[in-house]
Amino acid sequence: MTKEIMKKVLILGSGGLKIGQAGEFDYSGTQAIKALKEDGIKTVLINPNVATIQTSEDLADKVYFLPVTKEFVEKVIEKEKPDGLLLSFGGQTALNCGIELEELGILKKYNIEVLGTSVDVIKETEDRDLFVKKLKEIDAKTPISIATNNTENAKKAANKIGYPVMIRVAFALGGRGSGMCKDEEELVRRADEAFTASPQVLIEEWLGGWKEIEYEVVRDKNDNCITVCNMENFDPLGIHTGDSIVVAPSQTLSNNEYFKLRRVAIDVIRHLGIVGECNIQYALDPYSEEYRIIEVNARLSRSSALASKATGYPLAFVAAKLALGYLLTEITNEVTGVTKACFEPSLDYCIIKMPRWDLKKFKNVNKELGSEMKSVGEVMSIGRTFEEAIQKAIRMTGTGMHGLVQNILEISDVEKELKNPTENRIFAVAKAFDIGKSIEEVYDATKIDKWFLYRLKNIIECNKKLESSKLTKELLLKSKKMGFSDYQIGKATGEEMYSIRLQRKEMGIVPYIKQIDTLAGEFPSLTNYLYFTYNASEHDIKPFTKDEKSVLIFGSGAYRIGSSVEFDWCCVNASNASNELGYKTIMLNCNPETVSTDYNECDKLYFDEITFERAMDVYEFENPEGIIVSMGGQVANNLAVRLGKYNVNILGTSVKDIDRAEDRHKFSKMLDEIGVDQPEWKELISVDNIKKFSLKVGYPVLIRPSYVLSGAAMNVVWDDEGLEKFLKEAEAVNSAHPVVVTKFIEGAKEVEIDAVAQNGEIKIYAISEHVENAGVHSGDATIMLPAQRLYVETVNRVKKISREIAKNLNVTGPFNIQYLAHDNKIKVIECNLRASRSFPFCSKVFKYNMIKKATRVILGEQVEVVKKPLMDLDYVGIKSSQFSFERLKGANPVLGVEMASTGEVACFGKSLNEAFLKSILSVGFKIPKKTIYLSIGRREQKGKFLKRAIILKKLGYKLYASEGTAKFLNENSVEVEVLYWPKESKSPNVFDYLRLGKIDLVINLPHSKKDGKSTFGYDLRSAAIAFGVPLITNMQIASRLVIALVELKENPSLLSIESWEKY
């Protein structure tokens, strides 16, 4: 048996989070590692994603923070000599890397067995042609599809099938490059682009309007086969499943349909010979039992993570065991403890997954949803009616929506929104019903199954009743059963949220806690996996007893730009640390992509909303010692002040002090009192005053409308003209909606401190430094730890000021302060009294778990000061940001004050250059081989870049440049060739070169930060992203790269292969 000969197994992770490949792979990888460890197998993990749980100190035996590319993986294999390799737990990245390794004969060379599904089988699922052929052998139906290898053939294929056609790109994650083409023009455009990323493009019959159904299938080596979960998309085919609202189990399928598709799924997995887990996606005709298989993913996926959380069935764990040769009948169902893993869960609740988009953060981005995924995160709600679950899900996304109704949201063109969906479609449906449109009309426009529409209409009708009639007990109960929050009910009836809560409790209307037990109550189970529902009459569980000290931890909710897996790491570590101190832990979170929502990670898991109302429900039921709000990012932290008002015990830094840090005026006053400098700012309500202030402090200024919930619409304004334009675009500025204007300091360094304090005394700290100058959001910046280029005096000042702030705010727990450093002058720009994005990074660079320390402090343990901290390292960690611009058509891929990255990685090196190169390689950068294209905007930048250009020349690169840059460089004796902007109609043009792969790197330093659409810079950057050519848009990064390339040339073995522990 495999498990007996496997001594050491290599696991490939998925790297930085990006659209289409996010936190779900931390969850699957973590489960896989646990499953292998249970069998005494040594685990080696390659994953540069520093914020993940799987790269924590107590999981894999060895962690390599290195790019998941064939070059690096081969070197690790050479060094570690593993017996086996797991490819299916790191998303498409790991799978593609595995295929390459196999094709290059590397696996054979080192005699490594791929565990579970073989590479040949994986290839059959990935190569569309092979896939279709294979399925034909068993008469399983696939869409009519023609594989093509160039645009000309694609055109022919489309004509044969007839427009509209679907274009699909092979070997792509999250359906990148795929989409519907109405006509030949669109086809040619898409095909041209697709062929740059993939050798194969498929032209397929268009199945728009069909239902989209998925099954998660598991098979062991003895051919035992089960389907763990089926899921139905609320949005019909046409919207990527990652961007669809998904319901589990299916609600509109009859027995025949459900089990027919199940039968096909099992036939397919058997025929392909998959061992482990796979996902099969179907299109189902809404008017017959006709189906088409859209795709099979022979690996753990976003859907499998969702299915695990939806059912309680640990798919990744089981898949890892099956890969080792276990049988389904040999694995225990951990939820019940008595039954086996060979069964199909039965759900007695309704699951809804809702995507979270952040498109507002990107100007000019195409907001319409289609076959390319655009969402950055997701939430999962659990209810016992569709109405309850959907309203919960909408709230969970954290976009400021209170449910289906009672939101502030303008939908100007309902018709258009229904037909060309954006993230607001569900609200457009609500509005359509509200203005009297019929089910038929909405169905015709959306093709959303009428059953869903009926259910949504129920909510609208209930809302109308709330608005128009007296709030009786019956109506209140009914609206709670339909998922209305106290806030929604209050808003509809003109009462305060808390008053609704009190009335409700008086009437005995309270939510009940139910378990997720995989068997719909058929067997007794001790599961701690819980949710709240009003569609019930009793609790499944009892609260912790008085002898059981417990603590409630808030998770981070939906992953979004600015808050993702790093807070999951914090929550899991806080939970572990609390357990170590003898506390029972209660987790409240609603994100299915996380490890913190693994029911093994805490004593009780409430998979539910992180809202005031729900938090109070948990608090009142469990009566914990208190709540830890500082681990789940801003979502969790935001609740502190409100909960504090109702005598909820917030652990750690006091609510009063959290408020003093969060409230801009109070914080500013405090800084003034202790004599700490900050950039000049003012909260203003009139355009004149904004102008006056801007003139006084001098442009540029940063303008932040304070009422914007998602943090969007923050902007740097460079002159009067820009200011007027901004104010015109921004919504009304008035006394209710003031804006905060801050002096924007250019050319300063940005320094951060992450620290843990107890009663105002700092116990441990980490000071890091950004590579980019201030102006790039700290979440997008490249960060060096320890700081590499700061004056000792600067560091000392940062320490001193941080100590004073911590003392003044009497901080107990984690906190983060961001500073600007200019000529040794220090200004505070931000202070958060909670764990920050960089805590996992700092903890892992220092090999000191700062969150565990913070948790001990929060729980009142006396801890000692970590002396002379860990600054004195003989290595450096560099954190780089992972962007997803290739998914965000139209977005301007340039860094600014608004965060744009979706993930991060960090790598280690003996030198700054080593760590820097590994780090950028981990986020998809490729070291240029021969050619670089330069387009340097401003004159002084050109001057600054000149000596770098000379070095690049010396390194042997052929340089191309835009007209202006070429002129400047040629004048300064650096020989470069001009490539024009296609709009100039001169040849040669740079797009042709990009398309043909003749350029290895684009360095574009934008003319000014004002660069909008329809400039050359914008077009150039968009083209580089579209054609997959590495792009650098920042002077400091460009300079650092040039220096690093020099060192690499001098020392070709610079990029050493060392595991984390060796540093």
């Binding site: 069964f343 199909e344 009616t385």
Partner: protein
Amino acid sequence: MNSSAKKSAKLVLEDGTEYCGFLVGSDVTTSGEVVFNTGMVGYTETLSDPSYSGQILVQTSPMIGNYGVPGDDKDEYGIKKHFESDMIHAKGLIMQDYSDEYSHWNAKKSLSDWLIENSIPAITGIDTRALTKKLRELGTTNGKITIKGRNEIKNINLEKESQVRKVSTKEVIEYIPKNSKNKKIILVDCGVKNNILRSFLVRGIEVKQVPWNYDFISEKYDGLFISNGPDNPKKCEVTIKNLQKALNEDKPIFGICLGSQLMALAAGADTYKMKYGHRSHNQPCINLETGRCYITSQNHGFAVDTNSLSEDWEEWFKNANDGTNEGIRHKFKPFFAVQFHPEAMPGPDDTEYLFDKFINLL
């Protein structure tokens, strides 16, 4: 969810526990054995399954009625295409959330209308998870449905006689499929599901469907099939006696569900009433010969006591969850039976191959 317009109704269990909700379906009171089913689809198939005769069915799946109810069209043999029999056999239905509106291309009416046609009451708005846990704790229990403004049924008097009497065919029906393989089976109908008939017919087997108490032993046939059905197998004394005669011969015999229990009793083994039975689509059953595990559809409250099997018989399938018997077979003769439903409908069809196995022996 538009519960406000509905009449209040209650499910009252034998021990006095009450569950309040709203009436759906027919405005009549009823009583019966209360059982829960954890299947997530298939209410039309389940409600028309004769094995539920005499029972009030609780669905753990929270939203029921979503895809409506199909029409009554029949196939070439006169068998209803979309149902497992000609009527609803369950006495009542308990749901957490009835879908007032349905949506499906094949639906012709709502679940409520179908219930009304069959004079069957249902209740929505009940915490079916709480009820299921109660049933699990009490074991299967009796209960009644009461409706506000209607006289209550005073006592829950369940019939002494077997429900099989009610659901079995009253007359002999012969089916000759077009593609007949010239093999004929006697199908002893103790409440047979239509899909068992379909499973034979589609395989070209001639079927003579006979009443539960029909003496078939002197007839000419190639194989014998004992169907599923409701109630305690021990009440079917006549069937057991007839079956004993068949066991003395060598013609292949196949039993499903109640058929398996009857075969065990005829072979001298014992059956017992389970605490709360198996009613679901996700029961894992292990074939003890091959070690393979199959996901099966089930609906039974009684089981064969494996320990009581005589030497000539052996356990064939076993439930992977609770170890109860899921199939028996004769060690030497072509006799076998399974507790689960290879014909599915509703549920997974992983064990459909058992029909072929039987047919190959004819």
